[in-house]
């Protein structure tokens, strides 16, 4: 850009300052290229990182991987995180899988699977649900929301029902 202005090439009235001027000139170009490069770097770094897809690829949680089927015993249940709410995955028998919202419909406690009775139980007020999510006894007013369970190879996938 300096070439665009011919007047800066020389300073006829002060030839003794030519050295100083070129020194300043190199400082300015150093400062400018450094500053612009660094600032562009600071703009593009976030952009490049933004383009990099995050490990969790789903925005809205409609489906989650709840673990390996081989690691869940029949007649057992486990609490998994489904979005920001807990879900209960139950392996009733070798082949029968169930999943529910683990939020008790009474006062929002987290329910658990009771192996001794093969029922879902809420420890807060002794609410009991069956393996269809229906209320068996206790204060819960409504059944648990049921989710769909699918197996992808060994992986258990829970998804919201449409």
């Amino acid at each position: 850009m300096a070439e665009a202005d011919p007047h800066t090439h020389t300073c006829p009235d002060c030839p003794n300052r030519t050295g100083e001027t070129s020194e300043r000139r190199s400082f300015v170009s150093w400062l400018l290229s450094g500053g612009v490069a660094a600032s562009l770097g600071s703009f593009f770094f976030p952009v490049i990182r933004f383009l990099n897809p995050p490990h969790v690829t789903e925005a809205a949680v409609n489906e989650i991987a709840a673990g390996k089927a081989s690691q869940i015993k029949p007649n057992s249940g486990r609490i998994v995180k489904f979005g920001n709410k807990p879900a209960l995955l139950v392996r009733a028998t070798e082949t029968e899988w169930r999943a529910f919202s683990a939020v008790c419909t009474h006062l929002n406690c987290t329910v658990q699977y009771q192996e001794s009775s093969s029922q879902i139980w809420c420890a807060c007020h002794n609410g009991v649900y069956d393996l269809n999510g229906r209320v068996v006894s206790g204060p819960p007013p409504k059944p648990l929301e049921e989710y769909a369970v699918k197996l992808r190879g060994d992986e258990v996938v829970i998804s919201k029902r449409a």
């Binding site: 933004f50 383009l51 990099n52 995050p54 925005a59």
Partner: protein, 358 residues
């Protein structure tokens, strides 16, 4: 040596095919008048720069955003929490949108007060006003996209106002909402407007606007003699200054985005009662408050109708400024236009503040 030769060869090759030296030639003759009001020339450039930022950040957000009722809010949350620097990109997009509209307003008022709308710049002025409208439409449509409580209800109010326009209101309301109420169809529609229709319109208008500026050159205020005024080369003198201003704008924008991150709010629940204190974006506050203030019936008219007529008249007056603000000899009716502009500016400022406070 080799590098220099490569540049020369490439340059010659391009010259043969593009004739770009002509462009360079034209650019080297472009000048900017230097006088006491030169600094107002920067605001168009800032608006252009912010618009570019909007396009870049907008495209980035598009990579993750999903325009459905079920996913819109969660995808914005996803951008802000899971995507690296997503919070920054989204925050910059939101802040830049607001600054852009503010800068466009400043640009418009600077053009009014320096009377740059005079012939032969009527079309430049008209395309500018159209761009202001497009930018506000960008703001209105973009506001709904995160699908949070405040944006949902503000859009409901906004669409209701549009729907009370005489004659075309009902159709307009249905067209905007994609149905009888703000719902999933509205979101898809607003998304289409925001990322396809409006950008196309904006870029077309912008090209025209910029070409007209090049064609007619920079306007000099009427109180400055065209002959005596000194000029500055656009390249590199004025352009370097513009770069400085853009850098400054970027610094301010980044600081705002990082220090005051744009909030996400709560997911909209169409069945929840409207929360208290629903108000639109600040640039719609003045008309919003005006409509609130007008009594429900004025003489034989419905209050809201009167308000809409008023805004229609205002828009018409703005567009036709080069007609009524200019004498037959092409000089501006400076007093009258200045008076009207001061009136408009104070109305906007006072009503926006009142709308914000109340």
């Amino acid at each position: 040596m080799i590098a220099e030769r490569t540049i020369n060869v490439t340059s010659a090759w391009l010259q043969d095919r593009l004739g770009w030296r002509t462009l360079k030639e034209v650019a080297s003759h472009k000048t900017v008048p230097v006088h006491s009001s030169t600094h107002w020339y920067y605001f168009g450039g800032i608006s252009l720069f912010l618009f570019t930022i909007q396009i870049i950040t907008g495209v980035l957000l598009l990579l993750y955003y999903r325009p459905t009722v079920a996913e819109a809010f969660d995808s914005v949350r996803f951008i802000m929490t899971k995507v690296e620097f997503g919070w920054l990109i989204r925050s910059i997009h939101s802040w830049s949108a607001n600054l852009l509209i503010f800068m466009v307003f400043v640009h418009m008022f600077s053009v009014i007060f320096t009377h740059a709308y005079r012939p032969p710049r009527e079309l430049t002025w008209g395309s500018g006003i159209a761009l202001l409208g497009v930018m506000m439409a960008f703001g209105f449509s973009g506001y709904l996209l995160p699908w949070n409580t405040i944006s949902y209800f503000a859009t409901k109010v906004g669409a209701d106002v549009a729907a009370s326009t005489p004659f075309i209101g009902e159709g307009l309301g249905r067209f905007l909402r994609g149905g009888d109420d703000v719902a999933g169809a509205t979101l898809t529609r607003f998304f289409a407007f925001h990322v396809a229709v409006l950008p196309a319109a904006a870029i077309g208008l912008l090209m025209g606007h910029l070409l007209l500026v090049q064609k007619n050159g920079m306007s000099t205020p009427p109180w400055i003699s065209m002959e005596k005024v000194r000029q500055m080369r656009f390249f590199p003198n004025f352009f370097l200054r513009e770069l400085m201003v853009w850098y400054l704008a970027l610094g301010v924008l980044g600081s705002l985005a990082a220090i005051f991150p744009w909030e996400l709010g709560e997911k909209a629940d169409p069945f929840a009662p409207a929360p208290a204190g629903i108000r639109p974006e600040w640039y719609f506050l003045a008309p919003f408050y005006t409509l609130k203030l007008i009594p429900s019936h004025v003489l034989f008219m419905e209050g809201e109708l009167l308000g809409i007529f008023g805004f229609g008249l205002l828009a018409a007056l703005l567009v036709t400024l080069p007609a009524w603000g200019v004498r037959k000899d092409g000089s501006a009716k400076t007093r009258m236009v200045n008076g009207a502009a001061i009136l408009l500016a104070s109305y906007l400022v006072v009503f926006s503040i009142l709308g914000y406070v109340k």
